[in-house]
Symmetry: C2
Subunit: 229 residues, 2 copies
DNA sequence: AAATTCAATTGATCGAGATCAATGAACGAA
DNA sequence: TTCGTTCATTGATCTCGATCAATTGAATTT
């Protein structure tokens, strides 16, 4: 979801002098990490809650359910931020979808600068509110949408975040597998695959190899979503 | 979910001088509203995002999907806080489950006091982080749990929040209908009803009338949940 | 207390998506 | 390139929860 735009809108709404996102503070204070594909990000300062800035690459925040079930809470792409706490019933993990560079900072650490820079607090609040918003949108998706609506929503979300769009055609280079899409949408790989095939048959999209995906008809995809815009 | 406890834990974690929750600030600055059963809370200051303190009664935060589908994002009970923004794709509404007294305050308004009281910012951040945590726990529930696990989790959550517990027996006075339970868990009324009947047959709980519910075996209910604790 | 109404339960059947199973296509390694 | 492995697709079948349909029961009104 459009984390950046929502952030700016809110930040601007209660500050005459809007600033950029929190990335600069996090990068200054935080611990820099290079995580290879598939590895789990382990920060030395294991203080929780954490906020992470994804400098490059892509990550997933996952929750383990029992032994064999996984729910992906959020994806984090280049230039995005992702925050979570670990003092919860659910064990969360931040895992690299692709080799990536990330900077992590404990909120406790960040909070120390809150007194020095008043705008920092506002931007952190905007950031958390944006994450809350994203999470709640996904509650609607998981609780009340069909497989088709979920996949369509997912693709539109990705389009807004990482696609190259030119005259209504979006080109996506998926950093995640079908399993990860499924674990994000509360479905199985087979269902995701079938939904993609169906969209292909309807001429809405094309696929090249495993990861390239071209959306030919964004409007039609949007209509399958069952939300205004 | 235990919003209050998580809040305190975090607030204490980065402040030598932990304070209470935000309710005092919200009550000072905010708009007081008495909402009758079933009515939607409408604040005069329609500035979004909002944060609401539930002084008495119970509310639900809902998201409408299309025309006939509804997903309940969160319940808010006595002494709890609930925050949301409305500049989103999804139309949210705060509706009274029972007659209730609530105090609503725009975050923009609240942010003005952030400079005066540095701890206010920290508590707001803790509050939002707690809400984020709750929302993400529900992602796991909606994405990867069976009907039985959902209902069990729901009952345990309610137990922590509004039950009178004495020697391992919890008495609940449900402020919501079966439909509202269903709309919160991504199920239908029939499925919720059947799950409750099954728990009754297993001697885990009793029901008296529509709204009273007695949980006789919390341990066993916990075991149906598929999460450590 | 009887009547009315609406919510909850229970039963019967259906279907979307899960599961099981096989095939086919990408991608990496030698 | 070819082999081998892994991932994605497609097909067949099953199952959990949805849907449709009564029935029961609780709360409210008269």
């Amino acid at each position: 979801m459009p984390a950046a735009s929502a952030l700016h809108k809110f930040a601007a709404s209660f500050s005459d002098e809007p600033r950029g996102p929190l990335s600069s503070e996090v990068q200054q204070l935080g611990e820099f990490l290079h995580v290879p594909v598939g590895e789990i990000a382990k920060f030395h300062s294991s203080e929780k809650p954490l906020i992470v800035f994804v400098a490059s690459g892509a990550v997933k925040l996952t929750a383990q359910v029992g032994l064999d079930r996984e729910q992906i809470i959020a994806f984090g792409f280049r230039e995005e931020m992702i925050a979570w706490s670990e003092n919860s019933r659910v064990p969360y993990e931040l895992q690299a979808l692709t080799a990536c560079k990330i900077v992590g900072c404990s909120l406790a650490e960040l909070a120390k600068t809150l007194t020095k820079d008043e705008y920092c607090a506002e931007r952190l609040i905007a950031q958390l509110l944006s994450a809350l918003e994203d999470s709640r949108e996904r509650l609607v998706l998981l609780g009340r949408m069909t497989a088709q609506e979920r996949v369509a929503s997912f693709l539109l979300d990705l389009t807004e975040r990482i696609a190259a769009v030119r005259n209504g055609i979006a080109v996506l280079d998926l950093p995640m597998s079908r399993r990860e899409i499924a674990d994000s949408l509360g479905l199985t790989i087979e269902t995701v695959s079938r939904q993609l095939s169906q969209l292909r048959e309807h001429g809405i999209l094309q696929t090249n190899g495993r990861s390239e995906l071209v959306i030919l008809n964004l409007d039609q995809l949007c209509r399958l979503t069952s939300r205004s815009k």
